[in-house]
Subunit: 329 residues, 2 copies
């Protein structure tokens, strides 16, 4: 039996894949060659989670990989109706990005609280910055999205003394349902978006939503880009409906030089800082090698996407959320 063909999309992945030497035939594809190479591939490893190449190459008849693994947390850029309808198993890099994203969010909360952006700007102008900071302990956050990333953010903010309400699709145990979101957002100091992109979350952070917030609130985007209506956020910040915001992914990567995003008051752009900590390629590579071992032995894979839902369902996650002092009533 010939070795299975592992097709790698975009860039040289981690050296960790060297462990598969002699057991797979590795081929490389880019956006233009992908459609032609797909029919002969057993496994597709998508290294760049924000590429649209898979969705564009997939449609049409023909053989397809039996397994697609994406080195990212979200799969919205991959899913096309034909892939959803197929028997192909789709898995994600769950477990790699949760902690870095949570640290990124916690860092932004503390940086906003002490007005670090304004402080650095004053330093650049050789001026003393005299604004008082806010305390973080005792402030209120609402984390939208109860997947692994939202849960890790909740845990870390809770450890800083923040009262956190975690909002999921449906209310369960320590998690609020989305019906509570408006009420919780209206009294929050921090609103953190960590939702997957689905039909029901697309554009959910819009003018209507930003209009609910306190003028002192800050919004931090830690989820998929298309859940936030960028133009509405820029408009709300210009009107001072909220005090600040941070985005790490953008509709255009990077935004045009002329984009209003760059200098909207209170807006911090942190391109992909969310998950890309030193060593992430290695951690992703290690994960993939471990998953490949299971796949080649015919064992079930972890982190399988429910393609109808559009994400890895969390029903199989340990219920290990931090004690939540703002529990649903």
């Amino acid at each position: 039996m010939p070795d299975p063909v592992l097709l790698v999309l975009d860039a040289e992945p981690s050296p960790r894949l060297g462990r598969l030497t002699g057991r797979v035939e590795v081929r490389y594809a880019d956006a233009s060659s992908l459609a032609g190479l797909l029919p002969a591939a057993d496994v597709l490893l998508v290294w760049d989670g924000v590429s649209d190449a898979v969705r564009e190459a997939w449609p049409g008849p023909g053989a397809r990989p039996r397994w697609v693994h994406t080195a990212s947390a979200g799969v919205d850029r991959l899913l096309c109706p034909e892939l959803v309808a197929s028997d192909t198993v789709l898995t994600t890099a769950r477990g790699v990005f949760e902690r870095p994203v949570a640290e990124y969010v916690a860092g932004l909360v503390l940086a906003f609280a002490t007005d670090l952006p304004g402080t650095l700007e004053s330093q650049r102008q050789r001026r003393r910055h005299d604004r008082e900071g806010q305390g973080v302990a005792g402030s209120r956050a609402v984390v939208v999205g109860a997947g692994p990333i939202g849960r890790e953010i909740t845990r870390l903010l809770h450890g800083l003394g923040v009262t956190v309400a975690l909002v999921g699709r449906t209310a369960r145990r320590t998690i609020h349902g989305v019906a509570d979101l408006d009420r919780l957002a209206a009294r929050a100091d921090w609103v953190i978006a960590a939702v997957p992109l689905t039909d029901s979350t697309r554009g959910m952070f819009d003018t209507r939503f930003f209009g609910l917030l306190q003028p002192s609130a800050r919004f931090i985007g830690a989820g998929r880009v298309a859940t936030v209506v960028e133009a509405d956020l820029v408009d709300a910040l210009n009107r001072r409906w909220l005090a600040g915001a941070a985005l790490s992914t953008f509709q255009d990567e990077p935004p045009d030089t002329g984009s209003p995003l760059w200098d909207t008051p209170g807006l911090v752009l942190t391109p992909h800082l969310g998950g890309d900590t030193v060593g992430w390629r290695d951690r992703l590579g290690e994960r993939f090698v471990a998953m490949f071992e299971r796949w080649s032995r015919g064992q079930p894979l972890p982190n399988v996407v429910d393609k109808a839902l559009g994400y890895v369902p969390s029903s199989d996650l340990a219920e290990d959320t931090a004690p939540n002092t703002d529990s649903p009533s």
Copy 2:
């Protein structure tokens, strides 16, 4: 018996002092009038902890207040030999600044780890910032100074998953002695200075010390200004002996426009962000009113400075330091 005279140095303090109306006679002093007003005062409330006015006004013969309270954590700017030798009780605002300073330090650790300063500078130039962040969980910190502020910093960093070694004057239980400092600093990712200013800490963070650090290390000054030799820190940063630093107090307040501090590579200036969170004046005022009640009833005061040591000794503190995973061996 006439009401006791409360002399307030510098600025209108918190409205909370209104609670003492009818029970004290409040007088106000500034640096130039202080010496003349001291002899008639029973209590001196020093609102600006970085003023040298008390040290300059105190020497010489004459009656003095029986109690001096400073609305700051350190007392080095107050102590002169005559005050040390006197029967006057000196108290500090311990309990007000610990948490804000710890949040400030934790925020800087996370901001350095994700290179938030570089990210903001890239945004200003409308450029995508492509540097990967570091993880904070599992990194190593050494906190120098085992007083209430150093302990609170230790607690908060520990909650972020940082392995923290706390260094005090002498080794005890979970606290390392200063003899361990060089060894611990040499392998630390984060060095946080939170020591009071005494004869043995003056200038302790100098060229010799910075030469011990890893090139990837960051130094955060959260203690008294004169414990850090500013010129040595600037020099070490210019030589890339360490990757970054933050200072919140300076020899000159604010530094001259021409000071090299403003644009030393990797140096973040956060003037007094350390403790000044919204509402701090009120919290200080509340504390002082509660202490005044005790004083007027002849009860012992909390937070009394050992004037020979130069700080409030921590032997009377609850041993409530967070579990320390890097315990002295």
